[in-house]
């Protein structure tokens, strides 16, 4: 029974995706919506992502230094370890999880309240495809902006590590040297592919929970919570599979 319901939800999610990616009625209107969403979902997350990245970068460096506190291990290994954990995991996955909370609840509650106040029905009766008009611009803005955001996060995470080294946990020169040592650019590609996929999952899953709300304000709230939980789980689980495929 439970399994059947989950399968049904998956089916409805797929149908919604199908309805989302159809020809726009009017490109200019969709472009305007895209610019609004870029602002709302992208730029608006820049500050929080920056702050978190700098602090986590610093903390990762301090913790690694603490754990590798051994005269036989050269200090620049600390920088290598910091770099890899930030690029491979912290920036793409943790930042996406934070965005699943921020962006996911925003999308689900906006669409949910449009649903219960019949604004979605109003679009439909006008001859507009509400799934396409309301969801496609959000998906596009997020899959474009999430990789940019993640790149910024990687950079700032490493800056955070640098600040920690300036603070004295390790030699600044060792840090700079370690960052460049044995650097594999494919790890960045891997991280960007992840951010792209995570961006897509977060928006489409949250949109699904908002779009099909039934009821009133309480259900909008309930579904916003469900959206955050489901998109976070999707990020974590797909992270495992992407890593299997891309890194192994």
């Amino acid at each position: 029974m439970y399994f059947k319901r989950q399968l049904e939800s998956l089916g409805r999610y797929m149908v919604l995706l199908g309805r989302t990616f159809r020809k726009p009625e009017n490109l200019r209107m969709y472009y305007q919506a895209f610019m609004r969403d870029l602002d709302l979902l992208g730029y608006n997350s820049l500050a929080i992502v920056s702050v978190i990245s700098i602090f986590v970068g610093a903390v990762v460096t301090i913790q690694t230094a603490f754990n590798l506190d051994d005269p036989f291990i050269p200090q620049y290994y600390i920088a290598i370890a910091t770099r890899e954990s930030i690029i491979l995991e912290f920036s793409p996955t943790m930042v996406s999880l934070i965005l699943a909370g921020k962006v996911g609840s925003n999308i689900a509650s906006t669409l949910g309240s449009m649903r219960v106040s019949e604004q979605i029905d109003a679009l439909e009766v006008m001859g507009v495809n509400p799934a396409a008009y309301l969801i496609a611009p959000k998906v596009v803005s997020m899959v474009i902006f999430n990789p940019i955001l993640i790149t910024i996060s990687m950079f700032l995470g490493l800056v955070g590590g640098y600040l920690a080294s300036v603070g004295g946990v390790m030699g600044v020169d060792d840090y700079i040297y370690g960052l460049q040592l044995d650097f594999d650019a494919y790890h960045i590609t891997y991280a960007l592919i992840k951010s792209f996929v995570f961006g897509f999952l977060i928006v489409s899953i949250s949109a699904y929970f908002g779009f099909y709300v039934k009821g009133g304000a309480i259900e909008v709230g309930i579904n916003a919570t469900k959206a955050v939980v489901a998109s976070s789980v999707a990020v974590i689980v797909s992270n495992y599979f992407l890593t299997q495929i891309l890194l192994v």
């Binding site: 029905d121 109003a122 507009v128």
Partner: protein, 249 residues
């Protein structure tokens, strides 16, 4: 002309509409009346295809709604206007953007033409100087009138209004009623209005359908409704003291 044959619609085990036949002609103001909770809104939403119906057929000028493909259905909808019972205004857009939304989406009018059209529609519902405000900044009755302005912005062939004058004062209600029936004649629209305002029923009802217990219990004009012997209708209309007095005169 819109034809409805044997329309049935329910939710789960509850059947709301149990087989309704109706014709709505061009250039006439068609009214649906009935008790609160009687299924008027469900009927109107079924008519425009927002509810999938369980049985029966709905056709627009001879073309069955169920037979249309996606594109044909969208085309048909650009020729519809609808006023929802709860207004359903886009709350993140200004009043002017609400009224010009469909024009922006589907027409190639210039910006100034669209603005003129918005002003024209807003003036017809007696609204001025609200273009740059947001729906939440207007009173309930004003929002209702914006919803009507939005519904007529594209000069629709089919106009559906769910309680267009509930929440309005008697004077504005009459203005709205007049407007809807004038537009209907002027543009030869097929208009279907849900109402429980007996004043509208008598003033503008060309063709009235009374829904009771999921069935069409009576059909006739605004004049006929006052003289009918139908017990259900009498019970419905003369539940108010004013109408009892009118009848007794």
């Amino acid at each position: 002309m819109i034809e409805v044959n044997g329309l049935k619609k329910g939710f789960g085990d509850r059947v709301i509409l149990k087989g309704i036949d109706a014709d709505f002609h061009k250039g006439r103001t068609n009214l649906i009346i009935g008790q609160s909770g009687g299924g008027k809104t469900v009927f109107l939403k079924s008519l425009v295809g927002l509810h999938d119906i369980d049985e029966g057929e709905i056709s627009y000028d001879g073309v069955a709604l169920g037979s249309l493909n996606r594109k044909e259905r969208k085309d048909l909808r650009t020729r519809m206007g609808m006023v929802f019972q709860g207004n359903a205004l886009f709350d993140s857009l200004t009043i002017e953007e609400n009224v010009t939304f469909a024009l922006n989406m589907f027409s190639d009018m210039s910006e100034s033409e669209k603005r003129d059209r918005a002003n024209f529609c807003l003036e017809r519902v007696n609204l001025k100087n609200v273009n740059q405000q947001y729906p939440a900044e207007l009173s309930g009755g004003m929002q209702k009138r914006v919803a009507i302005a939005r519904a007529i912005s594209m000069n629709p062939q089919y106009l559906f209004c769910d309680e267009p004058n509930s929440g309005l004062d008697p004077k504005t209600a009459v203005v709205i009623d007049k407007l809807l029936s004038e537009l209907t004649e002027e543009f030869n629209m097929t208009t279907v209005i849900n109402t429980h305002d007996m004043n509208s029923v008598i003033e503008i009802g060309d063709n009235i359908i009374f829904i009771k217990d999921g069935f069409k219990a009576w059909q006739g004009s605004g004049e006929e409704i006052l003289s009918t012997d139908n017990e259900d209708i009498k019970d419905f209309i003369y539940s108010s003291e004013i109408f009892r007095r009118i009848r007794n005169k």
